[in-house]
């Protein structure tokens, strides 16, 4: 029952009208200009993938949107009624640097996020049900009482995703969510995300190095290198001559494993008895 309640709470009709606008957005730390002149419109129900070489400023852009780093320019969020308001931002970090031995259960983390009742005193039944329902939406309800340190990379990402969704965000930021996860785990995670953004009224910005997966799942690709180099559907971006010339080798290298069929490579005289 509480599961349905949770779904209702999250489920706003996808309208495609909410819009996050970045206007002349830039970040300068000290004297180093990391990002400049970024103009982007992100609509709800859309999965936007940020790609670009190392040091291009992808994580910096996410942190600036999050408010962790100061930025120049403007960040607007317009809701379905065309009203300006501060968006609720959900964030799934690349990694969390807690001590692996910390006695923090998944339920502890959930309660700490969503209630003010000190979690060291235990949890109410209502809290337990609520957390369980949130975890169920990312197929992870069996992890409720597990220790954070004992979770695998993929399990931890799903728990963090469930927590980010818990606050019914308008905008969901994912920073290389599947780094260090096996291929099946990656596919499952991307399936889950594309399902979520269609089901809930969510704009998703995702940082990734995996061009193959991104071209399959994203609605829009933003190639970032100090500023927006190229922006459009996966077909547009990956068929752009300039993009392929400047960033191509990396793209082909990343795309290659997807096209390659499993094969056994024989070397002549490789094994000798």
């Amino acid at each position: 029952m509480s599961y349905i309640g949770f779904m209702k709470a999250l489920h706003k009709k996808t309208c495609g009208l909410c819009c996050t606008k970045l206007i002349n957005f830039g970040v300068t730390i000290g004297r180093t200009e990391i990002l400049h002149d970024i103009n982007l419109h992100i609509h709800c129900g859309e999965l936007t993938a940020l790609i670009g070489p190392n040091g291009a400023g992808k994580t910096t852009l996410l942190k600036a949107i999050l408010g962790e780093i100061k930025h120049t320019g403007e960040l607007h969020f317009l809701d379905a009624e065309d009203c300006l308001r501060t968006p609720v931002v959900g964030y799934v970090p690349q990694r969390i640097d807690f001590e692996p031995g910390s006695p923090i259960s998944v339920l502890d983390l959930f309660s700490a996020c969503s209630s003010s009742w000190p979690v060291c005193l235990g949890h109410s039944q209502r809290m337990r049900e609520q957390a369980s329902a949130s975890l169920a939406s990312v197929q992870a309800e069996h992890l409720l009482n597990r220790c954070l340190g004992g979770l695998s990379g993929g399990e931890l990402q799903r728990v963090l995703l469930a927590m980010a969704l818990d606050s019914s965000p308008d905008l969901l930021l994912l920073d290389e969510p599947v780094s260090g996860i096996d291929v099946q785990g990656k596919d499952m995670f991307y399936d889950l995300i594309s399902h979520l953004r269609r089901k809930y009224d969510l704009s998703i910005i995702l940082v990734s190095h995996d061009w193959g997966l991104v071209s399959h799942y994203a609605d829009r690709i933003v190639l970032l290198d100090r500023t927006v180099q190229c922006c459009g559907t996966p077909q547009e971006v990956f068929s752009n001559e300039q993009v392929l010339q400047a960033y191509g080798p990396a793209a082909q290298e990343d795309m290659a494993p997807l096209r390659m069929k499993p094969q056994i490579i024989h070397r002549s005289g490789g094994v000798q008895a």
Partner: protein
């Protein structure tokens, strides 16, 4: 109030130690300090701040020295003010410098100890301050007990209001920030409260060992707990048991109370280390 406590102890424990009022005071002090250290310690260990609290403890020497220079009979107030300022400076240094926290704390700790010793040893009078190094729980007065009681209440209030925020910040500052928590402020608040708790208790536990009393019970508790509730319950139990056992044994062995308590806590830590592999 205190008479009721005395009567209760004499009624419950018909032993020789229960006849001395300094033992009854010390027992009450243990019952007040233990839970305070147990719950603060859990978060100090979670935040990897063991070296921070150690630095604050050692820097108390300089706090005492400044108090003496300014001509205070009881340097406690100056010590607290000094440690709070130091906690703020350290948390700012962590943000400003690119050096690792370890190095910053090492530098501060060594400087403060040296400065304290230099000032206090002028004219060869350092010996009268050595009670701060080892601590003297048995000399605690009723007024000081009241102060401890207030600090315990303060820590409990802080925990009930701020614990979830402390926990989130310790797990991931970015995550906490996305949840609208003012991370820098929460971190500084925790540093300050640790500094105050450590400094208030230092003259009874001792500069040399106060950090062990903060770290050992929490470190032992985390070996055998799986969630935050167990962590706190175990930590409080371990501090209380080692506190009471240490106090009584120090009476029979005529040893320094603080150090005896710490040894019992260390024993618990050792036991949990042995038990741990069987739990996981």
């Amino acid at each position: 109030m205190i008479e009721m406590w005395y009567a209760l102890i004499e009624h419950l424990f018909p032993f020789a130690w229960a006849n001395h009022s300094f033992m009854k005071n010390a027992l009450l002090a243990v019952l007040l300090v233990s839970p305070m250290f147990a719950i603060m310690g859990t978060m100090v260990v979670n935040n990897k701040m063991a070296f921070f609290s150690d630095t604050i403890g050692h820097s108390a020497l300089t706090g005492i020295a400044i108090g003496v220079l300014l001509g205070f009979q009881d340097p406690l107030l100056i010590m607290v003010v000094f440690s709070v300022l130091l906690a703020i400076v350290i948390s700012m240094l962590k943000v400003w410098t690119t050096t690792s926290t370890d190095t910053v704390l090492g530098a501060v700790s060594a400087t403060m100890v040296a400065l304290g010793i230099v000032i206090l040893s002028r004219g060869g009078g350092f010996n009268k301050f050595s009670r701060f190094l080892v601590g003297d729980l048995l000399s605690i007065t009723q007024k000081e007990l009241l102060l401890l009681a207030f600090s315990l209440v303060g820590v409990l209030i802080l925990w009930s209001l701020m614990f979830n925020k402390f926990l989130l910040v310790s797990v991931s500052p970015s995550l906490a920030l996305s949840g609208g928590i003012p991370v820098r402020l929460v971190e500084t608040l925790f540093c300050i409260s640790t500094a105050v708790v450590v400094t208030i208790s230092i003259q009874w536990v001792g500069i040399l060992i106060i950090n062990s009393l903060l770290i050992l019970p929490a470190a032992a508790a985390r070996n055998i707990s799986r969630n935050m509730r167990q962590y706190h319950v175990f930590s409080i139990m371990i501090t209380l048991i080692s506190g009471i056992a240490g106090l009584l044994m120090s009476y029979y062995w005529s040893t320094a109370t603080g150090a005896t308590i710490v040894l019992f806590a260390a024993l618990f830590y050792l036991c949990t280390l042995i038990v741990k592999p069987q739990l996981t």
